[in-house]
């Protein structure tokens, strides 16, 4: 059996601040296979971006410190790699897209120049990216990279790509820039794409186009994707799987249909109840009382216990174990899973 594309095992990360060290990721487990789009959802500060950044080791340390766990990309632990080896993975094996398409392109360089740079850098590691032999000359490589840049722009749906490759970022709209960034992330043929809130800054109609494009790219390039978002609507429309995060832990994960249609963890339920969906009567929306615990002094046991409607005294004793309630659907709440078992019995 081949190893999964990405396997995060029991990842613990702490951050040092003036007030003390905060345990911001507490035992993250996540496995992503090719052709899967994993949605990582949760509220501000729950650690979803940190999980994504950890995969490409972009969390500066210090202040960050990995206490335990492993992040395996095709079986290699990226946390054990040297900086130099890590550099080779970024862009080539791991592509990244960030939230704000306006700040992630250099305004002083043409779109083409920026894409060609990435393509040439990726080709240093793997000449197959440009489809050239190892002996190809500088000019030849540059021409091939430019052709590839145009092909990628076409692939992400930029009309008249051959002419627009010489445009500057300010000549593109927000949606177009995000497409350029997707092209840039994919130009090195990565196996894994980390997309951190790729559509949050965009209008809904543009968002729909970008998400459709992303889904298509996963099939065309045989990739795995980690899509970080706070929008459960985006998850429902785009992802194959979802992991719900709360205060540095994954509370529920599994196939998107299982989790969203049969939410089991009280936090997932609360999150779904807070969304103004169709047919919710005015005033019937339920917010979540209380606030996220301080992670410098996290509560013992379940981190959601203080705000949980199901909380038992035992919940604050030790961190909850994950239990499978159906195939692949993991829930970290003994009270909820027990209740489900009793109901089924």
């Amino acid at each position: 059996m081949t190893s999964p594309l990405l396997e995060i095992r029991n990842l613990h990360l702490s951050m040092t601040s003036f007030e003390g060290s905060a345990h911001v990721l507490a035992g993250i487990d996540l496995t992503v296979n090719r052709r899967e789009i994993w949605g990582l959802v949760g509220e501000t500060g729950c650690g979803k971006s940190l999980t994504g950044l950890s995969v490409s080791r972009l969390v500066p340390s210090p202040p960050a410190q990995y206490l335990d766990g492993a992040i395996c990309l095709d079986g290699t632990d990226v946390l054990a790699l040297s900086d130099r080896e890590m550099q080779a993975l970024r862009g080539k094996r791991i592509g990244m897209i960030f939230q704000d398409p306006t700040t992630n392109l250099n305004p002083a360089f043409r779109i083409g120049t920026q894409l060609i740079d990435v393509a040439l850098a990726a080709a240093v590691r793997d000449p197959a990216v440009l489809d050239l032999g190892p002996k190809a000359g500088r000019g030849e490589r540059h021409r091939a990279a430019r052709a590839l840049a145009i092909r990628m722009l076409e692939e992400v749906g930029i009309p008249n790509a051959a002419a627009r490759v010489d445009d500057y970022p300010h000549q593109f709209s927000g949606g177009m820039r995000q497409r350029v960034l997707i092209a840039m992330a994919l130009i090195g043929r990565p196996n894994l794409l980390i997309a951190d809130e790729p559509t949050t800054a965009l209008d809904v109609s543009v968002q729909a186009q970008i998400l459709k494009l992303l889904k298509q790219m996963v099939v065309d390039h045989d990739m795995g994707v980690v899509l970080i978002t706070h929008n459960l609507g985006v998850v429902a429309q785009t992802c194959s799987h979802v992991a719900v995060m709360y205060a540095g832990t994954i509370v529920e994960s599994g196939p998107v249909r299982a989790v969203l249609d049969r939410p089991t963890h009280p936090y997932t339920k609360a999150l779904l109840d807070a969304i103004p969906a169709r047919n919710v009567q005015r005033g019937a929306l339920r917010g979540l009382p209380g606030s996220v615990p301080n992670l410098i002094t996290p509560p013992p046991g379940c981190r959601f216990a203080q705000r949980c409607p199901l909380a038992q005294p035992s919940c604050t004793q030790k961190p909850p174990h994950k239990v499978a309630v159906e195939a692949g659907h993991m829930v970290a709440c003994p009270v909820a899973t027990q209740a489900l078992e009793n109901a089924n019995a």
């Binding site: 809904v204 968002q207 459960l232 609507g233 985006v234 998850v235 005015r282």
Partner: protein, 264 residues
């Protein structure tokens, strides 16, 4: 209550360093009427003219043509004093609660400032202003212990509550809400939306609610208008617009809305 009639705003062409620019038609012949006590939603993408329209209503900007009437009075013809009195009636809550509170003012100063500005109208002395600030905080779900704290000590949801308390301070009848929840997490958004609904019932407020989040609009608004490139393309009861959109743009927008339901 508020009538917007044929409002057009054209920003004239500017002669810049690189020659003549093109003029921008930000609003074209916008006609809307907002009834007392309702929640009216305005939906549009970025750059569609939502904010330009609110600026016209607040009279922070003057329309190129068209009339805006508040309770039958044409706002363009009012004297400066009458306009100031009118502004106590129309208040606004902005999108970003992190940017719209002065970090060097305490909550007390923030909430009492509008009362100070409209003191000739409200006639409250210092003591009464503080009392009213406490009342307002209570109304938005904060306590008297928060009165002398500063904005940085509050979470996003609490800050938006402070912004709402400030908007309520001069006793307004119409509140413009410019994306009041888009900077907040969903669980906090739900609390703020419920607070707004509750306040509307208690104080008989009229809301002019701007958002690009169709879910929020559908939840809170009685009637809705869709704006596209400065023109109103569709308006009507929220239910009928969402269930049976007439214009192509409305259909497109609604189709793009990510529902939390896994498609088959």
């Amino acid at each position: 209550m508020l009538e917007i009639q044929g409002v057009t705003r054209v920003f004239p062409a500017r002669r810049g360093m690189f020659g003549q620019g093109a003029e921008v038609r930000a609003l074209t012949d916008v006609t809307l009427s907002i009834r007392e006590g309702e929640s009216f939603g305005l939906v549009g993408e970025s750059g569609s003219g939502k904010t330009t329209l609110t600026r016209q209503i607040l009279r922070l900007d003057t329309p190129t043509s068209g009339i805006i009437r508040f309770e039958g009075k044409d706002m363009a013809t009012l004297s400066p004093a009458a306009l100031r009195a009118l502004r106590a009636q129309i208040q606004i809550v902005f999108q970003d609660p992190y940017a719209s509170l002065n970090p060097r003012m305490s909550v007390h100063d923030i909430v009492t400032e509008p009362m100070l500005i409209h003191r000739d109208l409200l006639g409250l002395n210092r003591r009464q202003r503080t009392d009213r600030a406490t009342e307002l905080l209570d109304l938005v779900g904060l306590g008297p212990q928060h009165l002398y704290r500063y904005p940085h000590e509050f979470s996003g949801g609490q800050r938006q509550r402070i912004c709402i308390a400030r908007a309520l301070a001069p006793g307004p009848r119409l509140i413009l809400l410019d994306e009041p929840t888009s900077a907040l997490d969903v669980s906090v958004q739900a609390q703020v939306l419920n607070l707004l609904i509750d306040l509307q019932k208690r104080l008989n407020l009229t809301y002019f609610f701007i958002s690009h989040d169709l879910g929020v609009i559908r939840y809170i608004c009685d009637r809705v208008a869709l704006i596209y490139r400065g023109e109103i393309v569709e308006k009507g009861d929220t239910r009928s617009v969402f269930d049976a959109p007439q214009s192509d743009y409305a259909r497109e927008l609604l189709a793009a809305m990510p529902e939390v339901r896994v498609p088959d």
